[in-house]
């Protein structure tokens, strides 16, 4: 029996998680964004966003900088080169999956 999992492209599970995927997608469309912008655009709660950013920073996909603007601390997040490669690779694989026709994997009868 054909093992479909061997034939289909496998997206990165770390990137695939919805919250992290949303964060990386937003960052891939800009140079950098602050915490508030990511919170507003992704719809994630502050706590969840903070945890996800920490996770992404730990694996080197994003870089977090804290800037002092007046008396306020401004958290700016940037995608690293690795992060850009990973998110681009992820979407390419998802496009492959969409274009991949299941019928082409089915064993031909006869």
């Amino acid at each position: 029996m054909t093992d479909l999992s061997e034939k289909l492209p496998a997206p990165n599970r770390l990137v695939h998680e919805p919250a992290r995927l949303a964060i990386l997608t937003v960052l891939s469309a800009c140079d950098s964004a602050d915490f508030l912008f990511l919170e507003q655009v992704t719809g994630l709660s502050k706590g969840n966003l903070s945890v996800q950013l920490t996770n992404l920073e730990a694996v080197g996909l994003v870089e977090i900088r804290k800037e002092l603007v007046g008396k306020r601390t401004h958290t700016m997040v940037t995608l690293t080169n690795l992060g850009r490669d990973e998110i681009q690779s992820y979407w390419e694989k998802m496009d492959e999956l969409r274009a991949y026709r299941v019928s082409s994997l089915m064993p031909q009868e006869g």
Partner: protein, 224 residues
Amino acid sequence: MDLAERNRLIAVTKGFQPLRGLIYVPAGLLNVALSVANSSGYHPHHSVAEVLGFLALFPCAIAATFAAWWYYRRRFGVVRSKCRGGRSVLLLTVGTMVAIVTLVGAMYVDDTFYEHPAASYPVSLTCLWWAILYVSFYLAPYGVRPHSLWFAALFFGLCFLTLVGVAPKSQFFMGSGRAGDIVIWLAFSVHGLLDHLLLLRLLPKASQEQAAAQSAAQSGKQHD
């Protein structure tokens, strides 16, 4: 994540800067006010107070523009686009200068109507300029402003009306205080408002509900 959600995230991120429409509304409304004052024949020259009152419109518009900018910064945060650096700044600067020069040129050519009506081009080049501007608004960023095409169609339509002689071209001289001048700046203000509404619509529902809750909380504090 489906494609629609991905496109939404990319559109709101790339389009955030241009979609801050409330920043442009005060400039549009200021010009509407000036056009209305001009069309009614109002000229503030009877007293110093009158002149100062008239001039106060300008700092009010500047203050409103700054307030809008501050609102976006506090409400949505900061996003820095990829188009940064010398080449992008140069392109933006050149593009802005070209736009201003062509607008001034269009207004100058339109104005020759007064001196040489027979030799003047029949179409309102000012309306044509605005139509092309709204087309450029649609094309950048990321094709996310479909309403800009309606405004472009409006001004192309006004061009056509001036071409066939239904609408007098002189109505669209900017700064003339005529009906067309008011239409131009009113459209500019409405377009800015629509940009802002589109930005709000591009937010996820959680952010929209959070914003509504914050507004309700602030209204409640004011009543207390």
